[in-house]
């Protein structure tokens, strides 16, 4: 299975390894809770993944101090923050700014358009990425808001603030 083997100017910003590991430990309990709830609420989503339920995806928000490892296997679901220097060998890598990745997850942005504009980078197994995209696209409503709701008013406030902060920031895309 092909993997992302080449680095370039759009790589994630360098972060001190110790900070990355600390950030991963801080967010991990939240991620575990979120992914279990989303999986429970949208069981049929996994059907569209076919054999790629066991593919390892590396979702890489370039401005974050860590990446996210997703294995969408309903029998053994994995969604964890990983320091980039300790990321697993992934079947597919999806890379972009966090806001874009969030909007793609919620179908607020179009994946093909993000790919055409070069704001979204995918490498590795293209079929796996296409299946994941189609699975997420068949979900009604906002996964991000469902996740925020898990944490009540503070969760919703954080999501709102996150969106506002990105909206106030000029888009720089991948080529920075």
């Amino acid at each position: 299975m092909p993997t992302d083997t080449i680095t370039n100017t759009s790589r994630p910003r360098p972060v001190q390894p110790v900070l990355s590991h600390m950030a991963c430990r801080a967010v991990q309990p939240l991620l575990s809770r979120v992914v279990k709830r989303i999986a429970k609420n949208h069981e049929t989503m996994f059907n569209r993944l076919g054999a790629h339920q066991t593919t390892d995806f590396l979702i890489d928000p370039i401005e974050f101090p860590f990446a996210l490892h997703l294995r969408p296997d309903p029998e053994n679901l994995i969604f964890r923050a990983v320091p980039r220097d300790a990321a697993p060998v992934a079947g597919a890598v999806i890379r972009g700014r966090f806001k874009l990745l969030l909007e793609l997850m919620d179908s607020e942005e179009d994946g093909d358009a993000a790919f055409f504009s070069r704001d979204l980078e995918i490498t590795g197994d293209t079929e796996a990425v296409v299946r994941l995209r189609n699975a997420l696209d068949d979900v009604d409503g906002s996964i991000a808001e469902e996740a925020a709701d898990l944490f009540g008013a503070p969760g919703r406030a954080i999501l709102r603030r996150l969106r506002l902060s990105y909206n106030a920031t000029p888009k720089t895309g991948m080529q920075q």
Partner: protein
């Protein structure tokens, strides 16, 4: 004035609901198999999903058109017949077909359900279209994207059925209905297997200078500079080097999308009954944006107002758009 129905794409039930809610008059979709020309991984409808989706659309006054627009290989025609049987059972409003055998089966078995002739059939002359109308009862032809508006107007005068034209989306012409370029590298067929450039054969590679190569079946078919907009990984839109063009050039077509927003009044005046938006493989976000934009535009035109057409270039391939052959026979 023609009805100017808006025919919208849906690759998932959620996309179908999005299209209906955004103002589609009809939505076209397909099953999760080779019977339709967007047989992509993780896309399309199970029979149960189609049944529920037809009910959703009908409850809101929208139609559902089932795409059975590929060509059955010998010995496999039962898959297409069974798909037609399921579509009829669920109450679809029309079948979109390309193959005469499939058309004949539906015309004979379900004469009360409309037949639309797919663009895949490549029927572009009045004589060819009339043949389908007279022999299979075809009620609408989706014209290939190779005709100017004056030519469409002339065809309209000579055929007994409605005309549907594409107005937005992928602009991949070639010999429509018989493209075998993707077979050449992958063994999979656009017209027999329903998939062009299967995702399992596509690979993107980023290079250290920020450029990106797209490969199909192990062959590099394009390379984009760090700041360059990208397109789909199809052979017809690949960039190639030849002895007299060592910098690489688009030998067939460029990555570009069709956008006829500004030609809608002319198309209506020419007698086009329905406008088709391409993109069953695209997201709900695309469906929502494009359908609502064209819904507003068509409503404005029908009300005698100047259409307020949103800028959709961000959704186009390579972030470039063309009016293609509709405006001029030479559009490069």
């Amino acid at each position: 004035m023609s009805l100017a129905e808006l025919i919208c794409p849906a690759g998932t039930p959620a996309a179908l609901r999005t299209a209906v809610d955004a103002g589609a008059d009809a939505v076209y979709c397909g099953f999760q198999d080779a019977t339709n020309a967007r047989n992509f991984p993780g896309l399309n409808f199970t029979p149960e999903e189609l049944e529920a989706s037809v009910a959703y659309a009908h409850a809101r006054g929208a139609k559902v058109l089932l795409a059975l627009n590929t060509y059955p290989p010998a010995g496999k025609v039962d898959l297409w017949r069974q798909a037609a049987d399921k579509g009829a059972q669920f109450g679809v409003d029309a079948f979109i077909v390309a193959d005469m055998g499939v058309a004949e089966y539906i015309a004979r078995t379900y004469p009360h359900i409309r037949l639309h002739l797919s663009v895949q059939a490549a029927a572009s002359s009045p004589e060819a279209i009339r043949y389908y109308c007279e022999n299979f009862g075809v009620k609408r032809v989706v014209l290939p994207r190779i005709l100017t508006i004056p030519e469409i107007r002339e065809i309209r005068k000579e055929i007994p059925c409605e005309i549907e034209t594409f107005i937005f989306g992928n602009h991949g012409l070639m010999v429509e209905g018989r493209c075998s370029l993707t077979n050449y590298l992958t063994g999979q067929s656009t017209n027999l297997d329903g998939v062009c450039s299967p995702a399992s054969d596509v690979e993107y590679i980023r290079h250290s200078d920020g450029s990106m190569s797209s490969k199909l079946g192990g062959f590099t078919i394009d390379s984009f500079g760090p700041e360059e907009k990208a397109g789909y990984p199809t052979i017809c839109k690949g960039r190639y080097t030849v002895p007299h063009r060592t910098d690489g050039y688009y030998a067939f077509e460029e990555p570009i999308s069709l956008n006829l927003a500004r030609l809608l009044p002319d198309l209506i005046d020419a007698g086009v009954h329905a406008f088709k938006i391409e993109g069953r493989q695209r997201s709900k976000s695309y469906v929502r944006s494009v359908v609502s934009s064209f819904r507003n535009a068509v409503d404005d035109i029908r009300a005698g107002r100047t259409a307020d057409i949103a800028n959709l270039v961000a959704l186009t391939e390579g972030q470039k758009q063309t009016q293609g052959a509709f405006a001029t026979k030479k559009w490069r």
